[in-house]
Structure formats: C-alpha cells, structure tokens
C-alpha cells in the first residue's frame, strides 16, 4: 500500500511551465509518475510535452481536477505566490499538496496552515524534496515521484523514511538500496519552521501501513517535532525506528540553511532530540553513514 501516494496517484504540477517545474515534471514523467495535468495561470490550453507524454495545462486547479481527476499537486511556484498556490489546492479539494518552494514567508504559512484547519487536504512541506513511493521497474521506475528527489536511488520495499532534509534523505535511501533493502514510501517534510505535516504525522501513517516494517527518521536542530514524535513512539510504537539528528555542531542562534534549523533560547538542540530518541528506544545513528545499518540491526 505505502502511504500518501501510489503508482496510480494522479498528479498535477503547479508551475509546470517554469524552468524548475518543467525539469522535474520531465523527471517525474520519465520515472513513471501519472502526471495528468499542469496548472499555470494564463497558460491554460497549452500542452506540456516530454518524450511521448502530452500533459494538458490549465489556468486553475479546479478545471484541471474536473478534466483529469487529479488528486495530488506538486507546487513549484515562487515564494511570493506559493502560499496562495497551496490554498488553491485546498480550496479545490485535493487530497495532497506537496509544496517544494523554499523561501515562503513564515507569516504566509502561519496563515495558510490556520486556513487549512478542518480541510481534508494534507499538505507536505513547504521547502521539501517531496514524496516518493518506489515502483517495481528498473531503478524503481513505475512508482510515484512528486518533487525533486532522484528516482533511481530508490528501491521498492518495506522501510519508511521521513526527514526534514533533502540530500541527507537521499543518503539514507541510497544506503538502504545499496544493501538490497527497499522503501515503502520516502517523505521529505521540509526544512521550514511552519509546515503542513510533522514527523509524527508521517510516523503514525507508517505504523498503520502494512507494507512498512521499519522506519528511518531524520531530524535536525530547531523546534521540537522530533521530541514530540519520540514521545509518541515510546507509548505507541509497534515497529523499529532508527534516527539521525543533524546539527550537533551548529552554533546557537544561527539559521543553518533551513529556515527552521535554528537553536533559539536554548531550545531545539541536537542533544535534546538525541536524548528524546534514546528514551523512546529509537536506534541512534551516531554518524550519517550509519543510518541504514542502525535500523537493520534492529530488525
């Protein structure tokens, strides 16, 4: 089953005509993702072409959904307009919105998250690499790739991966694949301080997913999402979890690349998160090279 997306999920891409959106639409199509529509206001009626694929472009999500039955969106829209793009998906009743954009003002996301309360739409991100459910083909093709992750590093299998980071996630996934161990779904929740989906949200989904047998959780300094997840895992976890926390050497008060990676007022340190992991029985990878092995030892 995997979580969030399957190879059959119909995906639309907001910002498909921009260079970033176009590039990743091409890669997703080559991977086998069901990209059924693009949405760029003002470019409705045009067609996005790649290899043998012809993807219709619409002015609005509502029109795209009506014509194609898309249920998920990838948001490749610049920061000043991205929160609005997210809310358009919510308004159109999409099941899933994956916001790739980095640089959305925090206040816009505060407002968007508040507006989304009670809606059926799940938001992943923003500032995230996206979601991948690997397929059965060569290099895991035939799966669903929403976002910017390299498809070929994945392999279909039973490990769930959830992370705030992009390339650090690819490390973990590649370690697993190189050991012949595949993934059920890989979810990048993003590096921003306000996001749509937390570690805990994804971990609950993995725990309930029959195809996921073990979980790798990658966190970093800032906020308390990892501690919250660890506390729940301690009480309710039914599958092995291994984790890595980046930023043990980060100085306090500095934003380490990700807007949410900042130690503020003594809170959000790597040390506190690692302690929470230990108390929850989560296997701790002492270096990023050990993420896969740490989990596999527990299984």
């Amino acid at each position: 089953m995997a979580i969030l997306v399957t190879p059959q999920t119909k995906v639309l891409i907001q910002g498909i005509t921009g260079s970033f959106g176009a590039r990743h639409a091409q890669l997703s199509l080559s991977y086998g993702t069901q990209v059924v529509a693009g949405v760029t206001p003002g470019k409705g009626g045009q067609t996005f072409r790649h290899e043998t694929h012809e993807v219709p472009i619409f002015d609005t999500i509502a029109e795209a959904v009506k014509a194609t039955g898309a249920t998920a969106s990838a948001v490749f829209v610049p920061p000043p307009f991205a929160a609005d793009a997210i809310l358009e998906g919510v308004g159109a009743g999409l099941e899933l919105v994956v916001a790739i954009t980095e640089g959305i003002p925090v206040v816009d996301m505060v407002r968007a998250r508040h507006a989304m309360q009670g809606s059926k739409t799940r938001l992943i991100g923003p500032n995230c690499p996206g979601v991948v459910t690997p397929g059965e083909g060569p290099d895991s093709r035939g799966g669903c790739r929403i976002g910017i992750s390299p498809g070929y590093i994945h392999r279909k299998g039973n490990i769930g991966v959830v992370s705030r980071s992009g390339t650090l996630t690819y490390e973990a996934v590649w370690q697993l694949t190189c050991r012949g161990v595949g993934q059920s779904t890989c979810v990048g929740i993003g590096g921003d301080p306000v996001n749509g989906t937390s570690h805990l949200d994804v971990i609950k989904m993995f725990m309930a997913d029959p195809e996921t047998h073990g979980i790798i959780m990658i966190g970093e300094i800032g906020g308390s999402a990892e501690e919250e997840a660890a506390a729940w895992i301690k009480e309710h976890g039914t599958k092995p979890v291994a984790g890595f926390i980046a930023g043990a050497t980060a100085p306090p008060g500095r934003r380490m690349g990700h807007a949410g990676a900042i130690i503020s007022g003594g809170k959000g340190t790597a040390e506190a998160k690692i302690t929470a992991f230990r108390e929850a029985g989560i296997g701790i990878a002492t270096t990023p090279s050990d993420m896969a092995d740490t989990l596999l030892k527990m299984m």
Binding site: R23, L27, P79, P80, G103, I104, P105, V106, V107, M109, V110, R111, R113, H114, A115, I148, S149, P150, Y152, I153, S163, R164, S165, G166, T167, L168, T169, Y170, E171, W174, G191, P193, V194, I218, E220, I221, G222, G223, S224, F244, A246, G247, A248, T249, A250, P251, R254, R255, M256, G257, H258, A259, A261, G265, G266, T286, T287, P288, S289, D290
Partner: protein, 401 residues
Amino acid sequence: MNLHEYQAKQLLHCHGVAVPASEVCETPEAARAVADKLFAAGEKLMVVKSQIHAGGRGKGTFKSGFQGGVKLCKSAQDVEDKARAMLGQVLVTKQTGPDGRLVRKVLVAAAPDIRKEFYLAVLLDRATSRPMVMASTEGGVDIEEVAASTPEKIIKESIDPSLGFQAWQGRKIAAALGLRGELMGQAAKLLKSVYDTWWATDASLVEVNPLCIVDGRDGKPQLVAVDAKMSLDDNGLFRHPDILAMRDLGEEAPLEIEAGKHSLNYIKLDGSIACLVNGAGLAMATMDIIKHFGGEPANFLDVGGGASKDQVTAAFRIILADPSVRGILVNIFGGIMDCNVIATGIVDAVRETGLKLPLVVRLEGNNVAAGKKTLAESGLTIIGGDTMADAAQKVVKAVGA
C-alpha cells in the same frame, strides 16, 4: 536579518508604540546637538547607547578600556564626551564574543524616570504554528534566566492568525502583569501595536526589554519601550524594501556577505576543516561527522541544488579566505546534480585558486563514475572518500587534527 535598537524603535513607533524621544548620531557633535534639543524641550536626563547587534551593552567594555556601552548623562557636554568615547571604538559584551563590535552609531535618548520594568516579546510558537505574545513582570533582565528559575512569571498568549491580537487578550495580559486602571487600557493598546509591528514587518522576533512604566510629562504614568530588538524573517524581506535598506553590513561577517552574493549559504565557525556540501541537512551532518572523528569544522557551506562551476570556485575562494582552514572536505550527493559537473568545477577551482591544502572529495549519486574519473585524471592531489565516514576520517588524518 537583525536590526539596531534605533531601527526597531522607529518601526515600533510607526505602529503606535511609545518610545523615548531620541535620535541616532554618528559624531560627538551631532550627539551634543541632539542633547541640546532634548534638554531645551524639558528633558532632565539623557542616555547615550552604543548601537550594535548584540545585547549586554551596558555591562560591556570597550577595547580602549572605557567601561559601559550605555551611559546616563546630565549635560550636553557629558553626552558629547560619552559619544566620543564610544564612536569608532570596539565594544565587547557577553554576546559579542571576544572580538567585540565596532560602534559606528550611538542613540541619544531622553532617559525617563523608570517606575517599573516589564518584558514583552512577540515570536512564532513552533509547537502551534501560531504567533505568541510573551510577557513578564521580570523586565530588564535575561529572560532565559527567568524561564529557567521562575517560569511561572512568564505569561504566554497564543494569537489567532486570522483574528490578530484581540482587545480582550490585551486586557488579560495587562491584568496578569498587574496593570490596572488607566494603565490597563494603555497596556492593551501597546501590546496590540507591538503585535501589529511583528505581523506587518514579517518579523521573527520583536522584543521590548524593558517595557517601562515611566512618569509622563503630565505626571501620569506612561508605558514606554525603553529598549527594543527586532529580527526579521529573511523570507519576508523581498516585500519590505524599506526594511531591507536598514541592513547593516558592518554587523555581518565579510565572508558570509561575500557568499550571499554567489547564492551560497555560508556560516563561519572556529575550526580548521572546511566543508563544501550540497544541501543544508547534509551540510550540518558533514560538520557533525568531522567533529565525530576528532576534527573541528571551519564552516557550514551549502552550495544548494545548482552549483555551477563559478559557484564552486567562489565557494573555494571563500573557504580559503579563512586563515584557520588547514584542509577541505567536499561532500556531494548528486541527486539531480551531475557528479561530473561538480568534479569538473572542483578541478577548475583547485587550479584557479592554486590550492595546496589537503582536499578530500566524496562524491555519490548521479554519474558518480564519470565524476571520480575526472578527479583521478586531473593530475591534482585529491583524496577520494567512499562513504561520509571514510571521507571525514581521511580529512581529519590529513590535517593532523
């Protein structure tokens, strides 16, 4: 992005928050002129405050030996003398680190008669993804100490983002701070104005410490922001060109400014092993693994998803401009990025910068075989790493740390 006290006060004042009469000055003569003006208007006492992006100014010491970056003055001459002692001098405080900060401006302000001090701040509560107003009767002190020793003295009020700061919330906080009668209304209004400032400017933090009850000119008690600090959400600056213009490059590390010009994310640290990585999480993890194997990272550097040859060369130049650097670790996981493009960039950068220091390169991912070949055939001394652990151990060994 951070602001100086005088800039934070300007923005708060625009949104209706009472601040002491003041003007920012760059020369002792200008400071004197402001003092003359304020004394003539009836003020009895002045304060001269060094403007730097760090706290602890009052207890700080100048490298010249002069004590204190915040001084009360009873005459215009005194103001001029104190301004002269501060301007152009380096002030070291608990928050600046031993290098201190050069004081280029001083704020000359009317020093009010303070009856009571409070703490007030507006910031994002990450646990709820909502704005939060924090207030305390323990003003004028380090709020982190209050949080540690008497957390019950900190009031926290969560703000509904669609409704904004509501009048009843202002009254609730005022009551908790012991502000009654006429002061309750004044407090509620001021709290809303401080919140509105935070929201309207895309701030990450607005802190008023101390917020004071002072004796107003008409003898009635008044609430005034005697000190103010603001940090802005970098993601919001594109829509505030007026605030972006307040940026003080003198308060930022030169190498970090240079890196920004090339769209590189660079933060200087204290160690001797530099790193160059694609992705913030991976970059932090690279710093961590260097330390794990006994080295000290010299920097955080995220080249991002693009990393053109020019950016890689610019990154090398910035890394090498730090005299403490004795070795470099390049850690790239090529996702969409092609490892051979990075390898070519590295070879060019090494040639252009004439690099002599040990260089360990770990490449993984897209087109890695071609990338490793490019490095091997370059004729340059480049140590290859297989895993991150392998690469980190090699660079630590090469630097002899």
